[in-house]
């Protein structure tokens, strides 16, 4: 089901999921677009309202579903749109890195960056750098996990219980 483009003969193309705060890094990525600052197409951006919404489950799910690297973008310390969500993100990130280390996953595969809404050029730089870092590390060789991953119940208790089950590739 996953077809990966063969763009030239570049070999390994990292898959990167980026969780960006709506107010800073996501907007900066918009700005990078407006300024036509091209960067590695490997980065797939998912919008959150705040880096504080980042549930460590999202990071692990991204790795499980095939991400080779995960990027988190939040507001600079002291600048959180919601006062201090970014500090919570920082704490989760640092603990998550310790977990990854113990699980044999290179820490560099998870990166937290502070990028303000005006720093479109930093989005470009970070996206390119991070893609190169992951390219150097190579694919994340996570052991295939047997069985189904049962997604947790959605907000509505019904009517779609079965839809929550995603089958692993």
């Amino acid at each position: 089901m996953s077809e990966r483009p063969v763009a030239g003969d570049k070999g390994f193309e990292p898959r990167i999921v980026a969780f960006f705060c709506n107010w800073c890094t996501y907007t900066a990525a918009d700005l990078a677009g407006t300024a036509r600052m091209a960067y590695a197409p490997n980065v797939r951006i998912i919008r959150l309202m705040c880096s504080g919404r980042l549930d460590p489950q999202f990071v692990l799910a991204a790795f499980r579903h095939g991400a080779d690297g995960v990027l988190i973008g939040g507001c600079h310390p002291g600048d959180c749109h919601y006062q201090e969500g970014n500090y919570k993100a920082l704490r989760r990130y640092l603990l998550l890195k310790r977990l990854l280390r113990e699980m044999g996953i290179e820490e560099e595969r998870l990166r937290l960056v502070w990028i303000s809404a005006s720093e479109g050029d930093r989005v470009q730089k970070v996206a390119n750098e991070f893609t190169e870092t992951i390219r150097r590390l190579g694919p994340l060789r996570l052991a295939p996990r047997p069985g189904m991953i049962r997604l947790p119940a959605a907000a509505q208790p019904e009517p779609q219980p079965a839809a929550r089950e995603g089958v692993l590739p």
Partner: protein, 667 residues
């Protein structure tokens, strides 16, 4: 996913729309391929492309499909949601569907504009569309929250922008709090003699507006005051303002100024801030004759009573209204407003940062703002352009782009310097008959009547030398240069290095953000652009809005601006604020957190995390409860809830998990 197994009764019906945005998207992304791909995704009933989805026919396409194909989910792949999410949600609503059964895919800013290879761009667009389709299946119908709005507006900054915004709102019948840090309103404009290009007298157009502010029944004017805290959200901001003591009771002072005459200091001997130190004042003073409010103040740094505790207090005796109060303390005012307009202005570039121009070293090097005071009839010289030693200059050089368009300092053009340099050149020539030289990189005169003004100066015989000045020096090498300042410049039109001896150098300093712009933006929870000016929500479509709803920008705090632009922007900000508060309510994005009560164990993990104290512990039921009115939807409690009882509308775990799987399934 196998559609029929999951939804025996048919399941959701999704429409996917891929926008070309002219060539903006279609020039890079193979839109047809994305559409064909979308058709293969589960539950997708229709997938279409269109030149401009945001246009009327584009929206109509969605509305028609919703009716005809009974669509209950819509995905639009186009620009950033910050631009058109609202547009498409409205289209859904018009078609009778809940507007939140919608997901936008950003394939312009995040794909076509930032990807070089068309193949890769197309694949990325497909991955993002796949993610949105998977996500939207899990969307739920939501209602926007309606919150009542306070009928009052806070305007921060009493320059021309703040004054104009405040008056516009006050004239519309809204109550305005105008807070100004300095003892008087008027801002930079009050320092000017004339304004370009019409050369109207700045005071003649500004001071009536200042008095109007002071007299307006709908305006509460707090000068010598600063905002110290802002809480709340659009429609309901709670603001604390510190009112610094001026040691004169504002309500009692009538501005007769007898106290100033009576001061034990017979002569004014302290540098006068309003005249940039070119003039002198006493410890008890009024910044300038038309200061508004017309209330004196005492500077405790120079007042002998505050310094030594010993003074005859002749000012106190002189005041018939007993308005002087040496014991006055600062006061904190608390107000509630529905909208806030920031008009905090700019500061000028510190010319000392370019030592080769000699500011601060050679007494006859002036900044443009100082010269504004010299040419001003109510300035320290009564409008006569005299050097510090009293001489009248015979040759004057005006150096443009000081601190602007300079890699070392600010790359941007300050927009006003060319024009004010022309104005000062005209005024100096008019007052002194001096030869005036302008040293410029490019003349930038793109405004109504601006180019004509430049022409007029050319006619008047003002000299223009194209080239960035290398140095201002007093090192004479010819007898002609003795006792003069020599401006060294490469004249790029002549192709030669020239030395122009002058008596007076005027530095056309650029405009910079206020030094405390960063603290101010944090207090108001808005962003700054790279140069440090406040960041507008969108440079074209929302130029006076910020990313924080209910907070608007006016004037040069958003970027260098001349008076006409500042006033225009102030009017726009006032209109935005008016539109907001006049409606009486705001509709908030329903992305609030909520707790599924039956599932909450009452572990209290979330309670301390909420920055808005929106979560409390219900002692009777022993669970956490979220006050939706206080929740701003950051979702930090949701991420932290260890048992998954806290959730967030529009950002449900299931929706995000689907998005994660989606972006990865089709890389």
């Amino acid at each position: 996913m196998r559609a029929h197994e999951i939804y025996p009764n048919g399941g959701p019906r999704i429409g996917v729309y891929v926008c070309h945005c002219g060539f903006n998207i279609a020039g890079k992304v193979n839109v047809r391929e994305v559409v064909e791909f979308a058709k293969t995704l589960p539950f997708v009933v229709v997938a279409r492309e269109y030149k401009f989805m945001c246009s009327d026919p584009g929206q109509e396409m969605i509305r028609e499909d919703v009716r005809e194909h009974r669509l209950d989910r819509v995905v639009v792949a186009a620009c950033s949601p910050s631009l058109h999410e609202a547009t498409f949600r409205r289209a859904l609503e018009q078609a009778g569907q809940n507007p939140f059964f919608f997901q936008m895919v950003n394939i312009r800013e995040h794909v076509s504009w930032v990807t070089e290879d068309p193949r890769e761009a197309t694949e990325k667009a497909k991955a993002l569309v796949a993610a949105a389709v998977r996500r939207v299946i899990f969307h739920e119908p939501l209602q926007r929250r309606r919150v009542p709005v306070k009928d009052r507006v806070l305007v921060v900054g009493g320059g021309i922008a703040g004054i104009h915004a405040a008056l516009t709102l006050a004239d519309a019948g809204k109550h305005v709090y105008l807070v100004e840090r300095e003892p008087t309103i008027g801002g930079h404009m009050a320092m000017f003699d004339k304004t370009f290009p019409t050369l109207d007298c700045a005071a003649c157009i500004l001071t009536p507006k200042m008095s109007q502010v002071a007299a307006h029944p709908n305006i509460t004017l707090w000068t010598y005051s600063e905002v110290i805290q802002v809480e709340g959200f659009v429609g309901n901001f709670r603001v604390r303002v510190r009112r610094k003591p001026r040691y004169v009771i504002e309500e009692l002072c009538v501005g007769c100024l007898q106290c100033i005459d009576a001061c034990v200091y017979k002569d004014a001997r302290f540098p006068d801030e309003f005249n940039l130190g070119l003039g002198k004042r006493k410890p008890i003073y009024i910044p300038f004759p038309q200061a508004t409010p017309r209330v004196v103040l005492i500077d405790p740094e120079t007042c002998i009573w505050f310094k030594t505790g010993k003074c005859k207090q002749t000012c106190l005796e002189a005041c018939e209204r007993a308005a002087i109060d040496f014991k006055q303390q600062e006061r904190i005012e608390e107000i509630e407003v529905g909208a806030i307009i920031l008009a905090t202005g700019f500061k000028t570039f510190d010319a000392r940062r370019i030592p080769e121009y000699g500011y601060g070293k050679y007494p006859n090097v002036y900044t443009a703002l100082e010269v504004e005071r010299l040419v001003n009839a109510s300035g320290p010289t009564g409008g006569e352009v005299r050097l510090r030693d009293g001489r009248i200059p015979k040759r004057v050089g005006i150096i443009h782009c000081v601190g602007s368009r300079d890699e070392r300092f600010n790359r941007y053009c300050s927009r006003v310097c060319c024009m004010y340099s022309l104005k000062l050149a005209h005024l100096i020539k008019e007052r002194t008959g001096a030869e005036v030289y302008n040293f410029y990189i490019d003349m930038r005169t793109p405004g109504k009547g601006y180019e004509e003004f430049y022409d007029r100066l050319l006619q008047e015989g003002v000299h223009f030398i194209r080239g960035r000045v290398a140095e201002v020096t007093d090192w004479a090498i010819t007898p002609d240069e003795e006792g003069k300042l020599i401006i060294r410049v490469e004249d790029t039109l002549v192709g030669a290095v020239r030395r122009i001896p002058v008596d007076m150098v005027v530095l056309a300093v650029g405009l910079e953000p206020q030094p405390d712009a960063d603290e101010v933006r944090r207090m108001f929870n808005i962003s700054c652009s790279k140069e440090g000016f406040f960041l507008e929500r969108h440079p074209k479509l929302a130029p006076v809005s910020t990313f924080t709803d209910g907070i608007f920008l006016a004037g040069a705090c958003q970027g260098p601006k001349d008076i006409p632009d500042s006033v225009a922007q102030a009017g726009a900000a006032a209109a935005e604020a008016l539109a907001l508060i006049d409606k009486g309510f705001v509709e908030l994005e329903p992305n609030t957190a909520y707790i599924v009560e039956a599932l909450c164990s009452g572990c209290k993990t979330c309670i301390g995390l909420c920055p808005y104290n929106a979560i409390s512990f219900d002692e009777a039921r022993m669970i956490a409860v979220i006050n939706e009115a206080l929740c701003k939807g950051c979702g930090t409690c949701v991420a932290a809830c260890p048992s998954g009882a806290a959730r967030q509308h529009l950002f449900e775990d299931a929706q995000i998990f689907q998005e994660i799987e989606g972006v990865l399934a089709y890389v």
